[in-house]
Symmetry: D2
Subunit: 387 residues, 4 copies
Amino acid sequence: MSLSAVNKRWELIGDSDAARRALLPDGAESELAAYQNHIENCIGAVKIPVGIAGPLRVRGMFASGDYYVPLATTEAALVASYSHGAQVITEAGGCVSVMLNEGVSRTPAFAFHSLVSAGLFAVWCIEHGNEFRAAAAQTSAHAELADIGVAIEGNHVYLLLEFTTGDASGQNMATIATQAVCNYIRENSPLKPEYSFVEANFSGDKKATAHSFTTVRGKKVSAEVTLPKDLLPHRLHTTPEQLERYWKMSAIGAIQSGSIGVQGHFANALAALYIACGQDPACVAESAVGVTRMELDQQGNLYAAVTLPSIMVGTVGGGTSLPTQRACLEIIGLAGAGQARALAEICGALALAGEISLTSAICANEFARAHQKLARGRNAGQQADNG
Amino acid sequence: MSLSAVNKRWELIGDSDAARRALLPDGAESELAAYQNHIENCIGAVKIPVGIAGPLRVRGMFASGDYYVPLATTEAALVASYSHGAQVITEAGGCVSVMLNEGVSRTPAFAFHSLVSAGLFAVWCIEHGNEFRAAAAQTSAHAELADIGVAIEGNHVYLLLEFTTGDASGQNMATIATQAVCNYIRENSPLKPEYSFVEANFSGDKKATAHSFTTVRGKKVSAEVTLPKDLLPHRLHTTPEQLERYWKMSAIGAIQSGSIGVQGHFANALAALYIACGQDPACVAESAVGVTRMELDQQGNLYAAVTLPSIMVGTVGGGTSLPTQRACLEIIGLAGAGQARALAEICGALALAGEISLTSAICANEFARAHQKLARGRNAGQQADNG
Amino acid sequence: MSLSAVNKRWELIGDSDAARRALLPDGAESELAAYQNHIENCIGAVKIPVGIAGPLRVRGMFASGDYYVPLATTEAALVASYSHGAQVITEAGGCVSVMLNEGVSRTPAFAFHSLVSAGLFAVWCIEHGNEFRAAAAQTSAHAELADIGVAIEGNHVYLLLEFTTGDASGQNMATIATQAVCNYIRENSPLKPEYSFVEANFSGDKKATAHSFTTVRGKKVSAEVTLPKDLLPHRLHTTPEQLERYWKMSAIGAIQSGSIGVQGHFANALAALYIACGQDPACVAESAVGVTRMELDQQGNLYAAVTLPSIMVGTVGGGTSLPTQRACLEIIGLAGAGQARALAEICGALALAGEISLTSAICANEFARAHQKLARGRNAGQQADNG
Amino acid sequence: MSLSAVNKRWELIGDSDAARRALLPDGAESELAAYQNHIENCIGAVKIPVGIAGPLRVRGMFASGDYYVPLATTEAALVASYSHGAQVITEAGGCVSVMLNEGVSRTPAFAFHSLVSAGLFAVWCIEHGNEFRAAAAQTSAHAELADIGVAIEGNHVYLLLEFTTGDASGQNMATIATQAVCNYIRENSPLKPEYSFVEANFSGDKKATAHSFTTVRGKKVSAEVTLPKDLLPHRLHTTPEQLERYWKMSAIGAIQSGSIGVQGHFANALAALYIACGQDPACVAESAVGVTRMELDQQGNLYAAVTLPSIMVGTVGGGTSLPTQRACLEIIGLAGAGQARALAEICGALALAGEISLTSAICANEFARAHQKLARGRNAGQQADNG
């Protein structure tokens, strides 16, 4: 990425010197090289402030310990809210967060002349699973074709190819592996499709879908915590009873709105963490789906759980190698290979912290007030839980 | 936001000097003040590279002209794809993009002892619309309560309050105005609810919902373009016929996946533009819903249209005042008051460009290849359309 | 309908004398005349056994008193279960059931050359609401166009016409009135659509949809009852606590399945009552959607409510005039004009009875047993609650 | 079922002699015995007129030949419409209809103290699939546990048990087999659930769900036909082009309405056939979901296909043994064991006939007129296609 190309682009978009100084300040030209394989038509960079939420105590299969989670956002009150929720969880002994399942889909589709041909082709595909797996494996050491599903609709066949992708989030890896499977099919299938496409929009890529919600897209995580009843009035200004009845009322609210799943604002946690940590923030579309449940347990404490079936995270690839994004991963202690599942468990724990904090604020009648104070700048500094 | 507080946070999270230098390089302390009302527990900022897509010719009610749209992303191929789509649209004479409707909801809920009380309360609410409007109006000169809906479920009443919020995206404004309506209700309703909540999750905030899809959340925009049949083989390596049949096959793919609406990857456009321009990227969860349609017209050209009912954008408030974000708004020429509707029309046009580019790549069998080349760095520079 | 035509059909389908004797026994030829305007290609009739459930005490706006509800089914245990639920409700003092809203939709659609034309047409439609209403009113004294909505998708316009239809269920009346509106448009609109259709599948006719669930299709009813805690162990073999926790677990089960709304088996109530009472049983597809809620109230009693937004019933038209169907309406006391809203309230109350009975059986671990006993004929007679 | 009990019920519901004569005419007492294991609190029977639609030529895996399909309905125009569609299909050489998959689910759920316990229990269940299968098999020679799925949500575990059930529709068989699995779990699981339920509403029983749509509930069938372009103007008063563009417009209409799948009125076919043939009409709620697709093929003919993933039919059990219902099954030639899959294929073919007939009527602007003529009795006899 040559500086002259960057300069030409700035000329193209006009002479706003102030804009240029903001996006490409003096000395920042040296950073452009790092963006080379991450963006085209580059003109500089935006800065998103990062705050830390925590400590968040997590007892997971892959993540274990007390974490400070960097969150990138421009929305006042967000970090304060998550940090508060995280601290309350930690005071309660931490949360359990478990990755239950993983897999990324691509769904090529094939058109035939007739339903009978479509059916025969589907059978052939199922019989050639091993060959498909081999074709996929040749594209990357990490791309493993884990499952093959078939959906026939008239003379059309959709293949549901589900991959594991190592520590990468994996959409591109899955695409390239799917292309290899399609190439194998083109060369070997005794039945030639009239036409076919490498992806036919059944995969749930970049959108909320009932199918991903019921199965998995990326990583499925469930996290839980029990908050002692004595902790709530002091720390959350509400009671387990209030939280349970809010849960019921808001669950039916969500159901009436026709949402997929029932949860409050997973999107806030995921967008802020994805941006900070070099994940793809467009995946908030699919990731912000799941179930939150809050209820009294037999001792009158509050049991709270979240289940997120579509967390799209990796610790290699994508934006994870950029300097500031890598720094954020290092702050959590999860940079580099071998850490993607732990990062998903952190996502689950963070979402849990946010659901507790938000619903408590609503129950305590502090929801509107928090936004008013922090966003409008009155005494904002005092609100921060942490330093 | 004092530097000593920032330093204390860095001590708290450990001694990673490299991380600190990345997020808070020398000289960046002066920028922290700007983040004061936008984040808590700040430790620095992440940088997201920005590329420009365009020129994108838009003929809208509010946006009109040729635009270069700044997109912030770390995903290779994204800007190149949008820029290519934008240029093809422009070559075809530009697209029409029209804001059709606007409104942001909050949905407080009220519990009563009985269905009869709930019904009487609902009637009282409808009769007191003017008083509700007045209460809302007192919280902000821009908060206007435009519509009041009621949903009764047993002894529970959900109010669907829909606001217009000037040039702000408006979630916080709507929350504060809803609190004022709830205060009015608490003081004046002859029927006292057993309990109530300022928001009961019917509003579609931060999630994809069928209700927002059918009505509006934020701003509803539809955009269209007709691409001459001769333009496609040369510029998109496909034909109108192929695009139409892909549309049909992928529409049924999306339907089978249980998505809300039918579209390809609105999320990519919206996440990249929201981050660049200081919008709330968590709203990608609700915004990435809608309809894409492609079909042959009577002359054999390709008609393509997108409809996005939930674009959440503003040109004042939120992150729009931060230096780099404001710079991006200035590049589009839409910074400050009076520009929110035009920005929404740009979102629609940009989404259209992306749908055309992506589906063409799939039809031309270039989808996997594009990712392979750009993301993995082979000849990446050659791919950029623009300089 | 001449007997010779009937005889010819029997010859056509072959010589099964037993089948003919079953469907058209000696003497039944005289009944064929009654079917004249209700069916084509008639060869006889099937018999569906009818049982009565009740007494069911209803305190509604339109229905009030103790009802015996005739249910037509061939599924063992169904009537026993509903009758048991009805009796428990009655012992608790009866349920409240209230019709909250009504309206039947048709959704014609219009294609234009461009989005701008579509938008202008939409404005013209909204401005000509009075003319549309007049055109609709001319088709029937009962067809009233109550609301006009507009949805623009690219260069397509969908009109959401919502009618009230007196005491008829009203789909056909709405269709004919919509045709009249379309005729008016064709003759008067300054913008001529390229093509249009009288119904474009947005109306929710004969299918479960999120839109009908959030608004109304036919009649929206909510019903509630509070069951004293002392009544449950004796009469339902469970406790309020067990029912509440079952509700929570099954609500999340339904959410995970991607259902529209959350309920158990409204379809059983509605299919059996629709068939008995001359309603259109295909409408079970749209009617079997809604919300069931069960929870402890402050005194430890069980509060149970159902909300059904899409009850499609009438007391005139359709099958209501056939002899056996009219007899069933007479048993409830709701035959003829002026009774449709009361019938909808009965549907709500009956659905509530069924939800209580079914969930109690599951909580008491009697669900499988009930089917085993009644369907497989062991001591079946002893199970009937009534007689 | 003694007559004296029936008499007592008639006394209970009052003295309407006319109603009694309609539901229980002289001589009908002898029929009551047949209803013994099918209904409780019996007071007689309603009669639903039956018409025949056909001939419908089907080339399936299990159904093959020309069929006359008995349909029970009180809605004018329904049989005429289906019969017309069937005849057009037959003139075109018949349709292909193929059962693709089968299985009926029950979904028991188990609550534990913690997510960790829930996870361990889930693992134990997966390891004990053979034992579960054995327990299920002991309840019926036909109940085979074909698949076991697990969904963990916090400390709750939902088991998705999928059964094949021979020639019975199978809900009750699945319930009883699930009870046996639950009994096995209770006696053998090292982890005792805090509580559990034999069904937790994830199964899609009696409701439209995204999960059943994507997988299968009962039997999944796809059917297709190609209608020569010359046939359409003469027989359907429309053209392949018009049908394709109606399909696109109505598909987007359905998508905007938030339906599950995209189809016109499967419910009409299924309700009428289910009632005639002794199936459970409440299952229309789940069965009336799927996909209809119509498009031009390369020769300009019309390709039409339907896919129904949730057909709930059996040829033994339920109402199939009642005299009139068995007569209807005999008319199709599918009474008794070994015929359930063929019956499902007939359902698919019939649904296809209805979609063709309905959409053609809309395209030919005959939709409103058909209802007007047949339902309102003008020249109704002339409309019938068949004698």
